[in-house]
């Protein structure tokens, strides 16, 4: 009984539901939608909330009921659980969609070219948005980001190197401290820079003071991401370097860090994304200028979040329009950073 010719067999997934099997569930959901529409129409229950609530209750009950009838009680409970888990995920998704939508739809109304070439020096927040611009805020935010990078990246990466390469006796404790530091409220970071620098040293409210406050928030982010990436560098690479007679310094500088380069760039980007939109610490530390200030060490500085803050606090229709447009520009900045972080592949390690 020899089988010499094997007919080609195609891989299949008999456990995956076919469209025909999904169809009843879809029909039930359509039924639930119709039912909730009818109930809203004929009972005193009204509003979007009523639609959503009824649709959820009727839909889950119908689908769970069908599964329960087919396969018994445990299938019913299982089906209920998956519906509820899915609803939870959907309810996390909804606010994000709403936030993006409202920001874009409200923000674009105020977009115009001179926004990026003018400042608020000659305009007031309650003027129509066509007057004045946010150049000063954009410049301020870029200054803040740049200085924060200069301060936090060496600190963060070296701390990460301490935790992964040196693994000194205190590294467990330092790890704990870094985690604790990532929970420091942003308002406290601002207060600290005020209490330590602005009160007691010649450094007054300026871009540098703001950036130092932001660095307190950025260092833990950079450290933790960089550490994650460095841990992914295979240990044989380190051993190979040291077996060739290289010192630890050379091994780290020429093998470990280059191997983790893309991940380290991601660490920096995530750190910047963390601080780019921070508002609270800046309220104590940069003074919130309405004019361009090219000197990061002296005099009040503006920033995008502070621009939004001022617009929001004034509360006139024109100033709120400014806030929306400002937050749109800020959001675009954050989105660019976010996409960049993804492009650099985050946790991938170059082993070649």
């Amino acid at each position: 009984m020899t089988t010499t010719t094997i007919a080609p067999v195609a891989p299949s997934k008999p456990w995956a539901p076919t469209p025909l099997e999904i169809l009843p569930s879809i029909l039930l959901l359509v039924g639930a939608a119709v039912a909730s529409y009818v109930i809203v129409a004929i009972t005193p229950m009204k509003g979007k909330l009523a639609y959503a609530f009824l649709f959820f209750v009727i839909g889950t009950t119908l689908i769970a009921g069908r599964n329960g009838l087919k396969r018994g009680r445990s299938a019913l409970v299982d089906s209920l659980a998956s519906s509820i888990a899915f609803t939870g995920a959907a309810m996390v998704f909804l606010p994000v969609a709403s936030i993006l939508w409202t920001t874009v739809s409200n923000g674009v109304k105020g977009l115009h070219w001179t926004l990026f070439t003018q400042t608020m020096f000659t305009a007031s927040f309650s003027d129509p948005i066509s007057k004045g611009g946010l150049l000063h805020a954009l410049v301020g935010t870029l200054y803040l980001i740049f200085i924060s990078i200069v301060v936090s990246v060496p600190m963060g990466v070296l701390t990460a190197l301490y935790l992964t390469e040196i693994k000194g006796p205190g590294s467990g404790f330092i790890q704990f401290v870094v985690q604790a530091m990532s929970g420091v409220p942003s308002v406290v970071a601002g207060l600290f820079i005020f209490a330590s620098l602005i009160v007691a040293t010649p450094i007054k409210a300026s871009a540098i003071a703001g950036a130092l406050a932001l660095s307190i928030l950025m260092i833990p982010t950079v450290t933790r991401t960089a550490q994650e990436v460095l841990l992914l560098v295979p240990n044989d690479l380190r051993e190979a370097g040291q077996a060739l007679g290289a010192t630890q310094w050379k091994t780290v500088a020429t093998i470990v860090v280059p191997a983790a380069r893309n991940g380290l760039i991601t660490a920096v980007i995530l750190g910047v994304a963390r601080i780019a939109g921070e508002t609270a610490p800046l309220l104590f530390t940069i003074g919130g200028s309405d004019n361009l200030n090219w000197n990061p060490f002296k005099n009040y500085q503006g920033a995008l979040p502070v621009y939004v803050w001022k617009g929001l606090m004034l509360g006139t229709p024109e100033s709120i329009q400014r806030a929306w447009t400002g937050i749109l520009v800020l959001l675009v900045l954050v989105l660019i950073l976010f996409v960049l972080a993804r492009v650099f592949g985050g946790r991938r390690i170059k082993t070649k």
Partner: protein
């Protein structure tokens, strides 16, 4: 600074690489200590600047519900600073945030770990990461203009049907800018951290136990109940506490949506309340002299509070993750 025993003297002179390594290790160790130094300095400076307030107010600073600085006709200044009402508000708002945010986050994490198809999972993980990157002032703006009208409506329903429960009662049906609204905004803001910690923990559930449950004929929910929850529940508590730390420290978003009033208000639907962080922002603008010091003291209280919550949370999460390995 060195970590290893000093090598014999002659060799130290002749081998340069050792020197470079010692410099390297010294530098890296020095920077490794930086976060510890910064954290200590934060505590030190805030305590130092706030010292006068602590000394003057004593324990009353934590329990007092008044925040006033009165200058009499004779020019004598009487200060009465207490963050009691704001502490109550902080806890109240954070509790609302946890009650709403944590179940949503856990459900989302469960869905992502055990239910979602690969493609949806990737998209949703990005969405949650993006939420974490949104500036808090964006949440404030959106919360004020989009969420608040909806929440006001929900508050109306709660008031109408559940008024007999004390927290849902209110002296008047005035639901705008209430702790409930602030709690809802915070609930959305803590979702990213709680979701990602829960997801990390659920993903660590030992595979052999999962398989054991399935091999016994468990449904997916049965498996989650018998294996995932016993393993991950304490870690999820840790994740929720990390969220609590965030909620305690949130400033701008709360300030935007909340009507800050220096009174203890336990009616979450009623439009007044406050938290320590947003109160600091509110009072900062016109504060001079003693009041500034009192605000720095309040900052110190907030710092210690969040630090303790975060440390406890991190310890719990770490222990859970270890137990899965």
């Amino acid at each position: 600074m060195t970590q290893r025993p000093t090598p014999p003297a002659p060799r130290e002179i002749t081998t340069k690489p050792r020197l470079s390594d010692r410099i390297f290790r010294g530098t890296v160790t020095g920077f490794g200590m930086a976060s510890l130094v910064i954290l200590t300095l934060i505590g030190l400076f805030l305590a130092l600047r706030g010292f006068q307030t602590f000394k003057h107010e004593g324990f009353h600073f934590l329990t007092g519900v008044k925040w006033e600085s009165v200058t009499s006709d004779a020019g004598k200044v009487t200060n009465n600073f207490g963050v009691g009402a704001m502490l109550v508000g902080t806890v109240l708002i954070a509790t609302v945030a946890l009650i709403v945010g944590v179940p949503l986050s856990v459900l989302c994490a469960l869905y992502l770990t055990f239910y979602a198809p690969e493609r949806i999972k990737k998209i949703m993980v990005s969405v949650v990461d993006l939420m974490a990157a949104f500036p808090s002032i964006l949440y404030g703006l959106w919360g004020f203009f989009v969420l608040m009208p909806m929440v006001q409506y929900w508050a109306g329903l709660l008031f109408k049907y559940l008024r007999w429960i004390p927290v849902f009662n209110a002296p008047q049906p005035f639901f705008e800018r209430s702790p409930f609204v602030a709690g809802m905004v915070l609930a959305i803001m803590i979702i990213p951290i709680v979701t990602s910690v829960s997801r990390e923990i659920f993903a660590q559930t030992p595979l052999d136990r999962i398989q054991a449950a399935y091999a016994l004929g468990a449904t997916r929910w049965g498996m989650i109940k018998t294996v995932v929850f016993p393993f991950g529940s304490s870690g999820v508590v840790g994740g929720a506490m990390l969220g609590l730390g965030r909620a305690f420290g949130e400033t701008v978003a709360v300030f935007t949506v909340l009507n800050i009033v220096f009174k203890v208000n336990l009616h979450i639907l009623y439009g007044m309340g406050g938290n320590v962080a947003s109160m600091i922002i509110l009072k900062w603008g016109e504060a001079v002299g003693d009041e500034t010091k009192a605000l720095l003291a309040a900052g110190f209280i907030l710092f210690v509070l969040t630090l303790l919550v975060n440390m406890a949370a991190n310890t719990i999460v770490k222990r859970t993750l270890k137990s899965g390995k």
